[in-house]
Symmetry: C2
Subunit: 346 residues, 2 copies
DNA sequence: GCCCCGGGATAGAGCGCTCTCCCCGGCCGT
DNA sequence: ACGGCCGGGGAGAGCGCTCTATCCCGGGGC
């Protein structure tokens, strides 16, 4: 920046006190004479002093930064590195995560360091960065089941909080949604609406959340007198939703209700139904999951199960902060309640 | 992390050499005897050494981090801080920017630090962070014209590169698209297709890019014998696209071609046209701009002007890197060429 | 009047790294 | 044979901050 940034020393000289006193004023620690405090404050003002982050980090062993890691399983080998990032952020879900995380971090003047780990190579890169102290801890959002990163982080002793329960148990904190509960809301709504031939499009069944949503849906359907629910597995994408619905429709042409495990697939379901001449919601009612932005832009707008992603992300950051500060040492899980949002599709 | 991370000193002791030598091996500087090099490398392996970033930053005065700042004009006063972040990332455009930036940074083991500046308060916060050396420079994506941040950064002497030419001139590098050129492609395509009653939905006219796209479109239309083009201003959102098209349709019911200044608005245009009983592309041809992910998911898929966002973002990072390293000192602009992508909508 | 006490300030020792300066020894030129 | 040069290595001075140990000094207890 300018030729030579002022240091604590400079401020101390101007204020006529010692470095230590200035430091105490800045960090608001121990009793400092109010008069001197004022003098120091003015000196800071006058010199335009800004504390050097690196120097502070060196002694405090804190970087005031957390890594926000988007982690894939490396299932798309030929894929360009960056394509992963683009694909990830194409999903409005991540925007909401970022939003929640930043909401917590910013008032504490911390920032998220964005990292992507979608291959063995990038994973060890991320691990190395963390061990170098680039960040005080990690917030991990996995896009796939069987993501090896959480275990690696746990082994390395990096304070970590996950978004969603990992499919293989790891001694790490996480936040998650009561997925079964959400599926129950969807099932009850469809049932109350009078639907009788109900099918569901699940997420990838390797993902715990998909399993839970399916299980919750089936339970409630069974309790409502529907022991059998046709199922098709999707991949959380629009295309996979269309494909899954296409299959279901072929076998069950009289379907009148669909529960899709996320909004993107619900959109695909709607599109396919329209292409096949079914009106939504008049012929077939469709319920999505997430309440993401596509739920609103979709025609018709989706009735969906809201996942409070921003709050969950903020809680994730708060949890990590506690771990980093050492206030909390044991892994903890925080489960959030979903909510049914009524729109036009069901 | 673990109880006590190994330091250079530890490695040096194990290898039986001095700190300086180990440092040289790690940074690959000056000639070191290959034999000793090997010994040091093994010592690093054995101790599990990872250089401390803070210590290194302190002396090199480099953080190996760049700030990726999304900057708004603070036009939505009542808005929650985080809502801004969510809104921003709802636009697939930013995902592509992140992708491009990360593509450049990662091979150099640098990371983007995510920051948002949408109010006077957060702007000065960002500025303070940068002055503290949290990042070596700033990559700025403004969502609004009249964004005061670029000027502030320039004044503070922070190495900065902007995405898109600022509406008020600032001594800062930027990357941008040849917007007029892109609009020309759209106009020519519509004309070649045989459209005769063509209208356009522009972006917010305070934004230079919107102006340029409009100007380029008008020029080409004029050159093609269409001196007058009905115009409606939108806000780059789906809703604003629908609203703008609604107005245009009322005044020009016989419209047969539309150029929308981005894909989101083009999607809105398509939706409105369908609601009003017009078929796309049979009754009305629609051309978008950006080639964002909605261009693909939209029904029908959009013919659009591709903006090579990832490349532009990568170039932005590269430019910043040069500024930071001092290789380049003068502000520079890099203009990229657009490309017409043909799909179903026109 | 002396001693002890404690609030308020300072001195100075690092934190872990880089980098400049210096030293050593072998090889060349004259 | 000797001095200079140069490749390869070491010693040590910081970078700017925090924090512990220490000091100073005024006041209260006996």
């Amino acid at each position: 920046m300018s030729r030579q940034a002022p240091t604590l020393e400079d401020v101390a000289r101007v204020a006529g006190v010692s470095r230590a006193t200035v430091s105490r004023v800045i960090n608001g620690v121990r009793n400092v004479d109010p008069g001197i405090q004022e003098v120091v404050r003015q000196a800071i003002e006058r010199t335009g002093y800004a504390p050097n982050r690196a120097a502070r980090s060196l002694v405090t062993r804190r970087s005031q930064t957390v890594a926000l890691i988007v982690s894939g399983a490396g299932d798309t080998p030929g894929e360009e590195q960056n394509a992963f990032a683009a694909r990830v952020f194409a999903d409005p879900f991540f925007g909401r995560v970022v939003s929640g995380v930043v909401g917590y971090l910013r008032p504490r003047s911390m920032h998220p360091l964005l990292m992507f780990a979608e291959s063995a190579e990038t994973r060890s890169q991320v691990l190395a960065d963390l061990r170098q102290g680039s960040a005080d801890g990690a917030l991990v959002v996995s896009t796939h089941a069987d993501d090896p990163l959480p275990a690696l982080l746990a082994d390395a002793g990096v304070p970590t909080v996950l978004f969603a329960r990992p499919s293989r148990p790891v001694r790490l904190s996480y936040v998650d949604l009561a997925h079964r509960e959400g599926a129950r809301l969807a099932a009850e709504h469809l049932l109350n609406r009078g639907c009788r031939r109900i099918v569901t499009v699940t997420g990838p069944l390797g993902v715990a959340a998909s399993q839970d949503r399916l299980a919750g849906f089936r339970d409630t359907m069974a309790r409502g007198g529907h022991p059998y629910v046709p199922v098709a597995e999707g991949g959380f994408t629009l295309d996979s939703g269309m494909a899954a619905m296409s299959g279901l429709l072929a076998e069950h042409p009289d379907v009148d209700g669909v529960f899709a495990a996320n909004d993107l697939m619900a959109q695909g379901v709607c599109q396919l139904l329209r292409e096949r001449g079914r009106a939504v919601p008049d012929d077939v009612a469709v319920v999505g999951f997430d309440d993401s932005s596509v739920a609103v832009t979709c025609r018709p707008p989706l009735t969906t199960v809201r996942q409070p992603v921003e709050e969950m992300a903020a809680a994730m950051a708060a949890l990590l902060d506690e771990h980093v500060r050492g206030v909390r040492t044991e892994p903890t899980s925080l489960i959030f309640d979903p909510e049914l949002v009524l729109r036009a599709s069901a």
